[in-house]
Amino acid sequence: MDYGITDRVAIVSGGSRGIGRAIAESLLGEGAFVMLAARTQQALDDTAAALDATAPGRVAAVAADMTDPADVARVVDATRAGFGPVSIAVSNVIGHVIDSEREGDGPGAGHFASMPAQEYRREFQHLFVSAWALATACLPDMRAQRWGRICNIGSGVAREPATELPHVLPNVVRPAVAGMHRILAKQVAADGITVNNILTGSILTERNLSYWRWLAAETGSTFEQVTSGFHSRIPLRRQGQPAEMAALVTFLCSQQAAQITGQSIPVDGGLSRHL
């Protein structure tokens, strides 16, 4: 199927690794131009070089803190200057890591009773403000083209809090992010712009692996005990691949998905229990 996004210009935050990288690769496969944004220059450069080999001249990268609206504006300006007006914005920013010694690379671990209130402000900046800033900065280009695709890599905890894990921050902030995207979808629908939110389940990335290692150490279990116990609760009995996230995001960015907007769509192997 020709998704009709050849030469469309996309920005993918968190684009150097894992899910973001898979999305960038998939959009490049459909003929789009892709600007990668992430914090770490070296990882960005490595990914951009690897992707450029498959899509020469169609990928670039800017080191940026996408939780800072000024940095987001800088990325959008660089994208316009390099490739032209932005048509596709994929926000893929993880929650903030409070104590990397205590939680591996996992985001926002902690219980309600022990979580200081200011951490909710930081998590809101990471998950909500980052997505708002990227969407807002790209909207003028999208409105001018009367075509746009905004996609947020959210989390299944937006709809079903993960109360079995000490994840109070994403449990609280993710639903608000989903609501913001739903409102935005209504506001921009008449301009030919769609806005969707992915309810990400358990996807096998490097960061996820390090989280399992941390959780195993934290709970005094082996890595296999932690993961097999978790997999047994997933109907498909496995974690998802980054490419399986990218498949949905790329479809949502397609011409064919013009009528799909305001959706929060799980990619979780059937884990969530809601209809």
Partner: protein, 184 residues
């Protein structure tokens, strides 16, 4: 995008309805073999209530009226149940239900029974997703509403049938231009 459907066998219920025809056409365009009768080689089953009558709850006069709407659930469950063993045996399968976006917002006054039966089918898909997930079979719903055309619906159906959608199961995707009122 290669959706990985070449030579898969797909059964589309009601291929003469506009939605069924669009789904059959879109699946065929991806190289799937579209059939009209269930056989053991069917990998994909797409069902919908497209050709049924429209009915509001206040227009219901008898239990028979209710059963006429509910028949689509009975028929679809029977079809899906018949198709499941062969899919599970091969470790790959796709069930897609095309229902009503009003099953989320319940604001379609002229077709409330369709919304109600779609709720039941979404629950059916959830149950199939949990029971058949371990054998690599997925079950999802596409909810049509707003100004969405049959081709808009078919694109979402075909995506859910694709290889890349293999980690998506038990899910409902609204294809309604964002007109619904619900967050989820």
């Amino acid at each position: 995008m290669d959706l990985g459907l070449r030579d898969r066998t797909a059964l589309v219920v009601g291929p003469d309805s506009v939605v069924g025809a669009a789904c059959a056409r879109a699946l065929a365009a991806e190289g799937a073999r579209v059939v009209k009768v269930l056989a053991d080689d069917v990998d994909i089953v797409v069902a919908h209530a497209d050709s049924r009558g429209r009915l509001s709850l206040s227009d219901v006069r008898s239990a028979d009226d209710l059963h006429r709407s509910w028949d689509v659930v009975v028929d679809t469950v029977e079809l899906f149940r018949s198709a499941l063993p062969a899919m599970s045996g091969r470790g790959w399968g796709r069930f897609v239900w095309v229902g009503s976006a009003a099953s989320r917002s319940l604001d379609a006054a002229d077709d409330e029974l369709d919304a109600i039966t779609s709720l039941a089918m979404r629950a059916t898909q959830k149950v199939i997703a949990v029971e058949a997930g371990p054998t690599g079979v997925t079950a999802n719903a596409v909810l049509r509403g707003g100004e969405a055309s049959p081709d808009d619906v078919a694109a979402a159906v075909v995506f859910l049938c694709s290889v890349g959608a293999g980690y998506i199961t038990g899910v409902s995707i609204g294809v309604d231009g964002g007109v619904g009122a619900s967050v989820f």
